[in-house]
């Protein structure tokens, strides 16, 4: 957050930027193929998601830094982007961790960690009441 007298970086000669854009574009194409190729290996568990997210993050960093010029611009703009990403992580992270740590009855039936799907869930026929096993006196 520069004071009122500060000067923004002067726009440099832009010959280099064309080459920069082209290199970033090639990298983006390559990373796209990479993420698609890696997905075909069906990496198990959360690692597949982690790899996919990692590559996506790298691609978006390239777009943000070079196509959107954050690489050579003021801190205020970078701060805005980084701050919004912090809050993305906050919403996704805390909400997901809630679903992951709930008492089983609190999650939708049939979902991860919840009770298995019963016959009345999702509009099936009502169950036949269990026969009296003679427990009542």
């Amino acid at each position: 957050m520069a004071g009122p007298g500060a000067v923004a970086p002067v726009e440099h000669a832009h010959a280099s930027h064309v080459a920069r854009y082209a290199i970033v574009w090639i990298a983006l194409l390559a990373l796209t193929f990479a993420t698609w190729g890696l997905s075909r290996f069906h990496i198990p568990g959360g690692w597949g998601v982690a790899v996919a997210l990692g590559i996506a993050t790298a691609k978006s960093a390239l777009v943000a830094l070079f196509f959107m010029h954050l690489w050579d611009q003021r801190g205020a703009n970078r701060l805005v982007l980084v701050t919004s990403l912090v809050f993305v992580a906050l919403l996704v992270g805390l909400t997901l961790s809630d679903s992951a740590t709930r008492f089983p009855l609190s999650n939708p039936p049939g979902s991860e960690g919840a009770l298995p799907v019963g016959p009345t869930d999702y509009g099936g026929p009502p169950p036949v009441p269990p026969r009296d096993r003679g427990l009542t006196p």
Binding site: P4, L90, S97, A100, F103, P108, G123
Partner: protein, 552 residues
């Protein structure tokens, strides 16, 4: 290009934003002047407040007796829903930022306008559009879901919930544009010498509010849209019969709505930081602490939303995490309360109407805040959730703190905005009525809630009768006090005594302009050599030292 002559500063400024550059309805509706836009917002939110207050009075009338009094249960559900929707989305969120923030922010920064005047005007029209859509829904019966629109009821109710959702969605954009404008203005339009550490504290808090508006409102927009879509088309992701999780809605809703309460309180704190300095004739104690605590509230407020879900079925671990995080927010509010109080110490206090509202604000903020911390304790909340204890807590903050701040702002800045003064005697009388009426309305509600009276119920057991009557009586006094305020303010705007540039002798920067200010705020760009509210023995020389800087 010269500073305003002293004579102009004493009287009513003849060439001001109200009559320049043009008069007439069209010039107002197409204005780009932030002051005019602020005034239009002020009128709009006051009308909205009257509407929301009318719903509140109907609610309190209904609760005068245990059984049905004036309406049936279904109508009562719509009344409290509309009371909440109107008060929160049409009054509390926009009132201080869009009315006073718009008017004052550029003046306090030494600027001629906000960064994006056309977006500013757009934010006003979006407010009107959102209000109209919501009003359409209200006229056709309104919704009965509560302002919180919990699923699955909100996705299955046959009432007119979709227009109200869409109205709130549009209002969200108004809020976003205001926040965007304020942030950019603060970053880029400060006059020479106005460093971040010389900003008026009003600006710091409004800036923090704007950050919340930018980050939180889109999530609300998406959430309301999802409910509207599910209601209209059945694309359910919240429907438990189709594997949906209704608590997920609550996570999304409160991710916005908890920071939203800080959108409501931070501007109130902004006003109070100015008022306390002006009427103690003393600079704030601990400027940096107060300034940074605003950012602290804005930031930490985002980490606490789950305390609204303690009894909804979220995991105990998550509840515990949110409970602990919720405690931290209290720290920043406490910092402000201590610093405001310390500002009073050894100040030269003038007990004017704005100061009276400040005193009310302080007490109600402390008790409202402390009951908030108590509610954030999960084990206590199990007992209090969805009772009148919660209702009393948030009304202590919203009415006791924010409304008092709004009234303080009206009185403090009326001379600046209109060039005229209100009658001080009436001001104090009304302030006493408002504060007393407020106490009688909401203290009984703490007691009711603690004894178990649920919120949003239109009937109750007889043992709650007396306290409900007391609450309604208090509400009547509060309403009369507010009507008195409205009447004498309207009279003062037309026929009040001429106030001059600085009737309070305040050293806030906005008082350096004539009253009412000229359209361009400052004839020459001011140069700042120190912060606001510096009340020393020798007065500062005029700060309009240099002629207009050259444009390239």
């Amino acid at each position: 290009m010269n500073p305003s002559p002293a004579s102009e500063l004493q009287g009513y400024n003849p060439r001001n934003y109200l009559n320049s550059p043009a008069t007439g309805l069209k010039s107002w509706l197409t204005t780009l002047d932030h002051k005019r836009i602020g005034v239009m917002f002020l009128v709009a939110v006051t009308v909205a407040f009257a509407l929301g207050g009318f719903f509140a009075l109907l609610i309190r009338l209904e609760l005068l007796t245990p059984g049905p009094t004036i309406v049936d249960a279904m109508t009562y559900n719509r009344l409290f829903t509309l009371h909440g929707v109107v008060m929160i989305f049409l009054f509390m969120i926009p009132a201080i930022p869009s009315a006073f923030g718009n008017f004052l922010l550029p003046i306090m920064l030494g600027a001629k306008d906000v960064a994006f005047p056309r977006l500013n005007l757009l934010s006003f029209y979006l407010y009107l559009a959102g209000a109209s859509v919501a009003l359409y829904g209200m006229v056709h019966g309104g919704a009965d879901t509560g302002w919180t629109f919990y699923t699955p009821y909100s996705t299955t109710t046959t009432t007119k919930v979709v227009p109200i959702l869409l109205g709130a969605f549009i209002l969200g954009f108004s809020s976003i544009l205001t926040g965007l404008n304020f942030i950019v203005t603060t970053h880029t339009m400060r006059a020479p010498g106005m460093t971040w550490n010389r900003l008026p504290l009003f600006v710091w808090s409004i800036y923090a509010t704007a950050v919340i508006q930018i980050l939180a409102t889109p999530v609300l927009g998406m959430t309301l849209l999802l409910v509207a879509i599910e209601h209209a088309f059945g694309w359910g992701i919240f429907d438990p019969a189709r594997g949906g999780d209704p608590v997920l809605f609550q996570h999304f809703f409160w991710f916005y709505s908890h920071p939203a309460v800080y959108i409501m309180i931070l501007p109130a704190m902004a006003v109070m930081s100015e008022v306390v300095c002006a009427f103690s004739r003393k600079n704030i104690f601990g400027y940096k602490a107060v300034a940074y605590s605003s950012l602290g509230i804005a930031f930490v407020g985002f980490f606490t939303w789950g305390h609204h879900l303690f009894t909804s079925g979220q995991s105990t671990l998550t509840g515990g995490v949110f409970g602990v995080l919720s405690m931290f927010v209290g720290i920043f509010t406490a910092i402000k309360v201590f610093n405001w109080t310390a500002t009073l110490y050894r100040g030269s206090i003038s007990f004017t109407t704005p100061f009276a509202y400040f005193v009310g604000f302080l007490f109600f903020l402390v008790f409202g805040g402390m009951t908030g911390i108590a509610l954030a304790t999960m084990s206590l909340d199990v007992h209090w959730h969805d009772t009148y204890f919660v209702v009393a807590h948030f009304h202590f903050i919203m009415v006791g703190a924010t409304l008092m701040a709004f009234l303080a702002a009206l009185h403090y800045w009326l001379p600046k905005m209109t060039g005229r003064m209100y009658p001080e005697n009436w001001g104090l009388v009304a302030a006493v009525m408002v504060v007393l009426g407020f106490n009688f309305t909401f203290i009984p509600q703490f007691l009711l809630g603690n004894e178990g009276m649920p919120r949003r119920y239109f009937s109750y057991p007889e043992r709650f009768w007396a306290l409900n009557v007391a609450s309604t009586a208090g509400a009547s006094v509060l309403a009369i006090g507010l009507v008195i305020v409205l009447v004498y303010l309207l009279v003062a705007i037309r026929r009040g005594a001429v106030a001059g540039a600085n009737p309070w002798g305040s050293r806030g920067f906005e008082w350096d302009t004539p009253s009412p200010p000229p359209p361009e705020n400052y004839e020459t760009t001011p140069v700042y050599t120190h912060g606001p509210h510096e009340y020393h023995e020798d007065p500062e020389p005029p700060r309009h030292a240099a002629p207009e800087p050259k444009h390239v």
